[in-house]
Symmetry: C2
């Protein structure tokens, strides 16, 4: 019987809504429910044409347990790691290939307006808790944790995203590919009764933004804009509520932050000047997605979440939302998937340094493709994070495809001084050529011609240390092939 | 009465079809017919929200003649200039603001397969005529025309596009803005009875392509792929017919061309090896558009058509097709609009150096906005080529916004060594900021935030000397403003 997982069921729509309601009622409770492994959810993924061939799907399914489980991972001080990926982290969920995991994510900018993004929200309150005696999550970043060494705070803010996870996928080993299907993705409702039915996000035009050293009149400033998003799903657009110029904030441990240099510093609005006359009447279409989604890298123990990498991470492509599927090469045992940096909307480039940073909850299905089954399939040589949507395939080029390896022991600081769009464009070109030649079996000459007449290159982001250019090819091109 | 120019007429569809048939029957005849200036055609342009305010539209209309004329400009050896813009050119048509001009354009790659793209086509035959005694169009490029100096041929191929025009717009002066509405755009049917109902294009993966110095195994080669396009409009996709590796070709004047270094060299297919097993079953959605459309620059007498500039030119954005409107700052008296480089399809980046280069015929309406009327309107400070579609506004960033001025007397050669995507991204950012601040009256902080969450930056081209990045903002954002 269809439990919201079989699109061929005549009542699929109703059943899927019921499934989603069930998931909602499980929120914060971490229940595990069993699913009949009918294979029906395959139909929820990218659709018709997929990088997963029928033979690979069969081989993969044969290795998965007979029953599919559903896991719920709430976001709270016990389930998040802040600002870093690490292969040393204890998994927060263990799952099998084929399982579904609902994961709550919190924006690391929630304390820009605690009233709207933290208060009353048990999970967020536990994460953002910070008094003179205690921090809900002490370490924030891949930097030093020794108070004698750090200056801004533990972890030094070398990495900023609140990451929920990691999720350990049983049997995952280096050389495998993890398919991550985003079945759903929705804004987290504000828990403060004063703002019932709404959700909020923050956009910080920060010192790491592309615009910062190029402002009119040379006046450097950081400006945070708070946006309102409808949490009911009735409105498809966000709108600005107010903005304020960042003024030095002293955190509860007594450190002054003259700029936005450490994540989660509570903003004291008695010191800011809020301007409610901002972007009046402007409606921003929302594109809910996860800015940072990926696996733990193998190269280093603690890795800054900001620069994206060959196993994913902070790709910041707004297309990584509901209905999309990501394919990641596995670098460490269990894969160790983490999710964070939720966005209500972002443009290609993420120009000012952030999107509309807004807490979201996602429903993911994780499918493990074993290395031995990949031979001869489109996923065989995958060594970069690959995005599949209903209509498109996208490769992600970075200034450095694997900066941790390419830039040596100093990589995590060096990357911030070395990025360029030109380098990312070059990498995107090479990856798309590789993609077309390996997955579509084109010759190099065919691939090059096709790239020029039918592939669109766009600027993913110019703010994440390792800058990004993506290349998009429509599946339709190949629909007529015999 | 509606003559195909009043969308509010209940029979507009029929009348517009009749108008198009009339235009077709006028082909090569250069007739001029009169239109009732009912203002109806305004509705054919970008639609609802436009950069032209009602007041500006009124002021502009008041300066136009009471009757609107239609002009037909065929493409032949007498109506084209090859490879250069020039303010010294004699106009091929003179028109008034509001007039409609149907303009034929020919791809400069037609001689890659003369059988499919030249033979039987009177206009194309006159342009591509080249015997040991005569060239239909001698000068090709902005380079030297003295046989004692040039090496490849007259004009030296410093600029490659066959440009139809120029069109002189009466009353146009520096400081004005010319609005160019593309009312229609369709492939030119092959005139060779052997290929009735079809149209063809050529894609050259050439030495100036982005891929050329980065081929697998380091093997440099130029490969031309011939594509078939449906001329009836029944099929919305193109497909490859064959490809061939460029081998040295000796032109009728005896000059050998080891690479594709001079436009219009007739390819002798007895010397090539044609491979018909290419991109089998791959269907490329067509996006007919004009790669090169713009006004004559003021800075220099003869300007290479390849690098785009602040008055337009070779922007190579596939969105410059049917339904789109371009706004150009006028640099010289009469504006001197020329059109060429027709494309059946191109991806963002035009990676290999060319698109599907395919002859097209366009129907344009030219509307002159006088400087005195621009004050206080969104077009007031326009100093770059601006694209408006039904749903979007786009600014075009270049490595150098005005390279002819910025790079000095050596600009036309220097530009080829100085381009980068990074520079073009910077220019696109600045232009979009300017656009949002001037046309939407946003503060800099509002503009910067909006660019990060709702503006998409893409790579227009990385092959035209002066590289391009465009920025897209959706009109919908502003639809709710009071």
């Amino acid at each position: 019987m269809c439990q919201g997982d079989d699109p061929s069921c005549p009542e699929f729509g109703l059943h899927y809504e019921a499934l989603k309601r069930d998931l909602a009622s499980e929120r914060r409770s971490f229940l595990k429910s069993s699913f009949v492994a009918a294979g029906g959810l395959a139909g929820l993924a990218a659709g018709g044409m997929s990088l997963v061939t029928p033979a690979l799907a069969q081989a993969t399914a044969a290795k998965a347990p007979a029953t599919r489980k559903h896991h719920y991972l709430p976001a709270n001080a016990d389930t998040v790691h802040w600002g870093y990926f690490s292969k040393t982290l204890k998994p927060r969920v263990e799952c099998d290939s084929g399982d579904i995991v609902t994961i709550e994510t919190l924006t690391h900018h929630a304390n820009d307006d605690a009233e709207r993004m933290v208060q009353g929200d048990e999970g967020a309150e536990s994460v953002f808790l910070w008094t003179k005696d205690k921090k809900g999550v002490d370490r924030r970043g891949a930097g030093p944790t020794d108070p004698k060494v750090y200056k801004k705070g533990s972890g030094e803010g070398q990495g900023v995203h609140v990451m929920t996870g990691p999720v350990y996928v049983r049997g995952a080993e280096p050389g495998d590919v993890l398919e991550v299907r985003i079945l759903d993705c929705a804004p987290r409702a504000c828990a403060n009764p004063a703002f019932k039915g709404k959700s909020f996000g923050s956009n910080a035009a920060a010192w790491w933004g592309y615009h910062y050293n190029d402002m009119l009149g040379g006046q450097k400033r950081e400006v945070v804009t708070i946006y309102e998003v409808d949490a009911s799903g009735a409105k498809s657009w966000a709108q600005a509520v107010y903005n304020f110029k960042w003024v030095p904030q002293t955190d509860p441990f007594g450190v002054e932050h003259a700029t936005i240099d450490y994540p989660g510093v509570p903003v004291d609005h008695s010191k800011t000047a809020r301007n409610f006359d901002v972007l009046k009447g402007v409606r921003i279409p929302i594109r809910p997605h996860f800015g940072t989604l990926g696996l733990a890298p193998a190269e280093v123990d603690f890795v800054d979440t900001i620069p994206p990498n060959w196993v994913g991470g902070n790709i910041d492509n707004w297309r990584i939302g509901k209905g999309a599927t990501m394919y990641y090469p596995v670098a460490v045992e269990g894969g160790l998937l983490s999710v964070g940096d939720p966005h209500a909307s972002q443009g290609d480039s993420e120009l000012c340094g952030t999107a509309i940073e807004c807490s979201l909850t996602g429903v993911f299905q994780l499918i493990l493709h074993k290395k031995a089954d990949l031979a001869g399939t489109p996923l065989e040589e995958l060594n970069y994070p690959m995005l599949e949507t209903k209509d498109e395939w996208l490769v992600h080029g970075f200034s450095f495809a694997n900066y941790l390896k390419e830039l040596g022991s100093d990589a995590q600081s060096a990357i911030y001084g070395k990025s360029s769009v030109d380098l990312a464009m070059r990498d995107a070109f090479r990856k798309m050529r590789h993609f077309l030649m390996t997955t579509q079996k084109l010759t190099e000459d065919e691939a090059v011609s096709l790239m020029s007449i039918a592939v669109d290159f766009g600027v993913t982001q110019v703010v994440d240390g390792n800058w990004g250019v993506h290349a998009i090819v429509k599946k339709d091109l190949f629909a007529g092939r015999v």
